[in-house]
Each structure stands twice: as C-alpha cells, then as structure tokens.
C-alpha cells in the first residue's frame, strides 16, 4: 500500500514538475487557445480598427474551427485600450496573468503596440500588430514574440512617394504633424521623393492634434508645389483634406495622403478625396476572393473592411493554423511555425514573416476614383500598381533590429 501511494505521489510530482516541456510539445494548455483583441473601441481609430477588428478576428476563429476542426477550443476576448500605452500594457498584463491569454492582436497606435510588445516579451506571449504603423516596431524595438502584419510607415512612404513622383508630381511641400510619427513619415517620404528625382520645396509643422489648418494650407498653397504631402494621420488628415477642398487648394495642387484608410475616404466622400494617391495593404474590390470575404464582413458590419481589419483576419487564421500544425500553444514553437509557413489567403499571396517580425506581402498603390467613376457603394479605388513584397518594406540589410543576423 505504502509503495503504491509513494509511486502514485511520484507520478503526480512528475506530472507537475517533470514534464512541462514534453507536454508543451504535444498539447495546448488547458485545451484552450485564448485570443485577446486589444484595440481602440471608442476613439479616433475605432472606424478603421475597433469593433470591426474584433469581428474580423471572430470570423477567422469561426472559419478556422469550421474548416480545420482543431482539437482545441478557441476563445476570443476584447477590450478598449483607449489609445493609451499605459492602459493597454495594464490590460495585456492582466490578460496574461489572470485570463491565460496566448496571443494579443490588433494593437492600433504605435504607443500601445510598443507597450504591449514589451509586456508580452517579458511574459513570453505572442503579439500580432495589425493596426499600428511605425517602423520601430520591427526595427529598434523589435521582439522575437511579435509579428507586424498589415503595413508600416515605410511601405506607405515608399509606395505613395515613388508613385506620385513618377506620375509627374516632382515638387513637394509637406504638411507635417508636429511629433515623432509625423516627422518620421515626412523623412521617409522625403528620402523617396529625392531618390526618384523630385524636389521638396518646404514644409510646415502643425500641432497635433489640430482643427484649424487654414494658415498651414495657405503656406502650402503659396509654395506653388504640385503635391502637398500630408504627413499626419486620423482626424488631422481628414480635417486637412476637407479644408484643402474648401480653400480651393485642390484640385489645382494635389494631395498625397501618406496614411489613409478606406474608412477615411468613406467619411470624407469622393468629392473631397478624388484623385488622391494612397498606399494600402488591402482593397476589398480586387478579385473574387477579396470580394467574397469582404461581402461577408459587410453583411455583419454594414461597412467594408479596412486593411487593418482584413489583416487581423489573415493574421489570426495564420496563427491558429500554426498552433494546429505545431500541436501546441507554446510561444516559441508557434512563432517558429508561423515564420516557417507561407501566408496564402485572400489578404496575402506568398506572404512571409521575416526574422524582425515583419510580414512581407504585396502592397497596392491606389488612386481614389472621381465621383462619376464610382458605380456602386464603396467603389472607391483604382488599383494603379502592385508593389511587390520585396520592394514594399524596409530591406533586411537596412534593418536596425538586433534579431536580424547580417
């Protein structure tokens, strides 16, 4: 009896202490993969991410469970990070500590993304950034537990900047939001413009956030530049475009929105935005596959998806596939699997996750249609050019991420 008890105890001890590594390699902890969608539910970015991102993630989970019939359950929880780094870091920490969340996705705005990435790295959990755009996410601040999925400021600057110069927009003037992000966007774009033989006539900094752009727009107007580059985001972009139309700056001079989403175009209307160039990682009306998925999204949300939301779906599906293929939700193993498998879905063809966490895929240069060219609701873009994955993002040779072996 005693011996039996002893061996039983020994087994129990082994089960608890001895084999987490072996168990992790074959099993998903608790049989549940838990996903946290951390996004802006109420603020500036709730249109382009927010509830739509949550829906996209839920769709990915439903599709995955229906198609792949995994041996584990998938649960999704969400919260509003209010675009604040401290709230998002706190929420992420709490999710990981008390809810056993395995991966955190969306993360719109750079400050929240960076804050959560650091927490997740410390706690060894996966982060998937689809919403935020700054390049430090995969450069100076990169982590080996993070994937940056949809787009970044480099891709936007390169795409829009190069295209506009090639279309003859040689003389630029920048309207720049006066903080790190705006200046970085301006610098990246300036480099591209100069490289392609363009000229920068000047710039004006505006406070962030701003409501009244009149004096800045008048400066831009009197500069005589062909192109006014908007190195700002969100409501600042929307306001500057609206006011540019009111002041008659457009269509004499053209605007280049360096960070524009389809939701911005939708709320501004085609009259104010027609002819603008912008770079996007996804457009719903590209082919049968994108249309099919986007219509499903539309049915539930009454809006077409932004690239951030489409990217959330794609990333979530890829993550779950990696968990299934690896047979575990162990961070390191899943991350290795995610990097090993190519991404092939409606969002990306032959997408690949690099060592710095950057998912590279084709980006698209779009031009906003004239009102008379738009035939049906949400018919907003001409896709003018496909920017191949290897040209769209910062080359690894220029990467400042310590994880990249050179």
């Amino acid at each position: 009896m005693k011996r039996k008890l002893l061996s039983a105890m020994l087994c129990a001890v082994l089960a608890i202490n001895g084999s987490p590594v072996a168990m992790a390699a074959t099993k998903v902890s608790d049989g549940v993969v838990k996903i946290g969608v951390l996004t802006d539910m109420s603020g500036t970015y709730s249109d382009l991410a927010g509830p739509g991102s949550l829906l996209a993630v839920q769709m990915a989970v439903q599709d995955f469970v229906a198609r792949e019939k995994p041996g584990f359950k998938v649960e999704v929880i969400s919260a509003d990070h209010q675009n604040k780094g401290d709230i998002s870091a706190n929420k992420a920490r709490e999710w990981i500590d008390t809810e056993k969340v395995d991966a955190i996705i969306d993360l719109v705005t750079t400050s929240t993304a960076l804050a959560v990435m650091k927490v997740a790295k410390e706690k060894n959990r996966i982060t998937i950034v689809s919403g935020a755009a700054s390049t430090p996410i995969t450069n100076e601040q990169c982590t080996d537990t993070n994937v940056h999925w949809t787009y970044d400021t480099y891709a936007l600057a390169v795409g829009t900047g190069r295209a506009v110069v090639k279309q003859g927009g040689k003389n630029w003037f920048f309207l720049t939001a006066d903080y790190a992000f705006g200046k970085a966007l301006e610098k990246d774009t300036t480099d591209v413009v100069l490289e392609n033989g363009g000229k920068v006539l000047g710039r004006v900094l505006h406070p962030f956030p701003a409501q009244d752009f009149s004096s800045f727009l008048l400066q831009a107007q009197s500069s005589g530049a062909q192109v006014i580059g908007l190195a700002n985001a969100g409501n600042d972009t929307i306001n500057s475009i609206k006011q540019a139309a009111e002041f008659g700056v457009t269509p004499k001079q053209s605007l280049a929105g360096l960070l524009m989403f389809i939701t911005d175009v939708h709320s501004l209307g085609l009259k104010a935005t027609q002819g603008m160039y912008l770079t996007t990682g996804f457009y719903w009306d590209m082919n049968e596959e994108t249309r099919a998925w986007s219509r499903r999204f539309f049915e539930k949300k009454q809006r077409m998806p932004s690239m951030v939301q489409a990217g959330d779906y794609s990333a979530m599906y890829h993550y779950l596939k990696a968990v299934k293929a690896a047979g575990t939700d162990d961070t390191k193993t899943v991350m290795a699997k995610m990097k090993e498998m190519p991404v092939n879905d409606f969002f990306a063809k032959n997408g690949k996750i690099r060592d710095d966490g950057r998912m590279i895929h084709d980006m698209y240069l779009a031009q906003v249609k004239k009102p008379e060219e738009s035939k049906y609701p949400w018919d907003y873009y001409h896709i003018r050019q496909v920017i191949p994955a290897d040209q769209a993002f910062t080359p690894l040779s220029k990467s400042k991420c310590p994880l990249v072996k050179k």
């Binding site: 509003d80 401290d86 870091a89 903080y179």
Partner: protein, 307 residues
C-alpha cells in the same frame, strides 16, 4: 480621532490582503493614483488651491524615473528619488509663479505651465514623444529585493504609498496644516494674524508636487513605461474628479475616489465607449447630489458624538 485610527487600521489591513483578493497590478495602479489624489487633496482640500496642472508633476517624474533607470542604469529607489526631486523643483517653479494669483487665475496659470511640460514631453527625444518610454526594467530594490516578482513589487508600492500618505497626514495635522486650513477659510485674516501666507502656500504646493511626483515615478516602475497620458491635461482633470468623488478635504476620500475611478476605467474597458459616458454621469451625479464626496457624505451620515 478614533474614527481616523479605525480608518488607518482598515487601510493597512486592506492594503496587506488586497493582492490576494484582487489582481495585484491593478491594486498597485490604484495605490499610485490614490497617492496622487491625496497629494492633490493637500492643495485643494486643505489649502483651497485648485491646481489644474498636476499631471505635469506626475508625468515628468515618471519620465525622469524611467529615463534614469532605463538609460542611465539607476537602481529603482534612486530613480524614484530622481523623479520625485524633479517634480519638487518643477513644483517650486510652478508654485512661485502661480501663487501670486488666486482662484481661476491660479488654475489657469498652472494649466498653462502644465501644457508647456506636455509640449516638452511630446518634443524632447528622450521621452519618445507619442510612442512613450517603454521597457523600463524594475530591477533590484536596494540591490537585494527582486522587483520583477509581482508580490515584492506590490509591497514596495504599498510601502511607498503608506509613507506618502503618512507625510500628508502629518502635514495636515500639524501646526503647519492648521495654518493651511486657516488660509483656506479666510486668507486675509491669516495674513492679518501675521502668517507669511505665500510661503505656506508655496511649501504646500511643493509638497503636493513632490508627492505627485513620487506617485508618478512609482507608477512608471510598476508599468515599466511612461507615456503622454500622464502629462496630458486629462490627467489633471481626472485627479480633480477622484478627489471630488472621494471627498475633498477628507483624509481617506481621495483614496476611495481613486479606487472608484480606476475600477471604472479598468473593468469598464470591456464596455468600450460607454466608460466615458459613465464617468461623466457619475461626476454630474456627484456634483449635484453629494457634494461632499463619498467619504464626506459617509462622515456626515454618522456624525462624531461629542462627549
């Protein structure tokens, strides 16, 4: 007096067992904000000065603590001291300018100065601007206590809070505090009694700023980040809300107020946009229906019987 003693005992017991009942990181956040609100209350509740720029002290101390710990390699206790000292110096500058005026002008001057600090935080390279300062290591306290352990961190924060709270309590219940209350009640009379009112006000201002800084620096260590949220004028407004909600001019009011506001923000994150509506509604109800705040109303419900 007996009731205050009971309050202390309740606070200590609650503080000691809280991390076993509630998520510890959340309690740490509440403690940091409670200290911040108490420091603010020293000025608003006991001296009658409404500062609308206290975020500047919370935030700048956070940035300095974060920077000194992360980049200059300071140990956590020195980082916090550096942050607190910065806030005190800033408080001296703000205070010497602002106390020359009173009422709404005082509030406006502090707001204007705080906006300057916000601008600096947005523009100076070491703060990371919009992106903030992340990945501040918690490190070893006094070289021996590992703060990466949540419980160690918790009791450290609790100790910091208790020290700050005790300083405020002592200040309020000292002759110095009596003079502050006299200034609050009738400033010309305090002057006519021969008190150097400006010096008292300035000292209260610096003390309040320094303790706000202590809260901010500790918060940075807890979350391992410093962000613009803490220097934004919203934060200056939020601390007013906490203080009013809990009970202005009561010892424990701001603690309760901070706990309520933080709970709303934290657990309200799931209901999304309704949080701001809810906070606003509560504020309106508070101002309309119970002006003395939660603790103030409770105290009025159960008046102390004079022997």
């Amino acid at each position: 007096m007996k009731r205050i003693a009971m309050g202390w005992v309740a606070l200590v017991i609650a503080g000691l067992i809280a991390p076993f009942l509630v998520y510890p990181v959340f309690v740490m956040k509440v403690l940091c904000f409670a200290l911040f609100a108490c420091a603010f209350n020293l000025l608003l509740g006991y001296t009658g000065l409404l500062s609308f720029g206290h975020a500047a002290f919370l935030g700048s101390a956070g940035y300095i603590a974060g920077h000194t710990i992360k980049v200059l390699g300071f140990p956590p206790e020195l980082g916090i001291l550096a942050g607190t000292a910065t806030a005190a110096v800033l408080g001296y500058v703000f205070g010497s300018l602002a106390i020359r005026r009173s009422g709404i002008y005082f509030a406006m001057i502090t707001l204007a100065l705080a906006q300057m600090v916000f601008f600096l935080a947005l523009q100076m390279p070491f703060t990371g601007g919009e992106d903030g300062l992340q990945g501040v290591p918690r490190g070893m306290l006094f070289g021996v206590i590992d703060l990466r352990e949540t419980m160690n961190m918790y009791y450290f924060v609790f100790a910091v809070f208790m020290i700050g709270f005790w300083i405020i309590y002592r200040a309020v219940h000292s002759p110095f505090g009596q003079v502050l209350k006299a200034i609050r009640e009738n400033e010309p009379r305090a002057i006519s009694l021969g008190y150097a009112v400006d010096k008292y006000k300035l000292l209260a201002f610096v003390l309040s700023a320094a303790l706000s800084g202590l809260a901010g620096a500790t918060k940075t260590l807890v979350f391992q980040l410093a962000s613009l949220t803490d220097v934004h004028w919203h934060m200056s407004g939020e601390v007013v809300l906490m203080t009013l909600l809990g009970g202005m001019g009561t010892v424990f009011g701001p603690v309760v107020g901070a706990a309520v506001v933080m709970t709303l923000q934290n657990y309200g994150a799931e209901i999304g946009e309704w949080v701001t509506v809810l906070t606003g509604a509560i504020f309106v109800v508070c101002v309309l229906a119970f002006r003395r705040g939660i603790v103030g109303e409770l105290a009025a419900l159960f008046p102390v019987r004079k022997p």
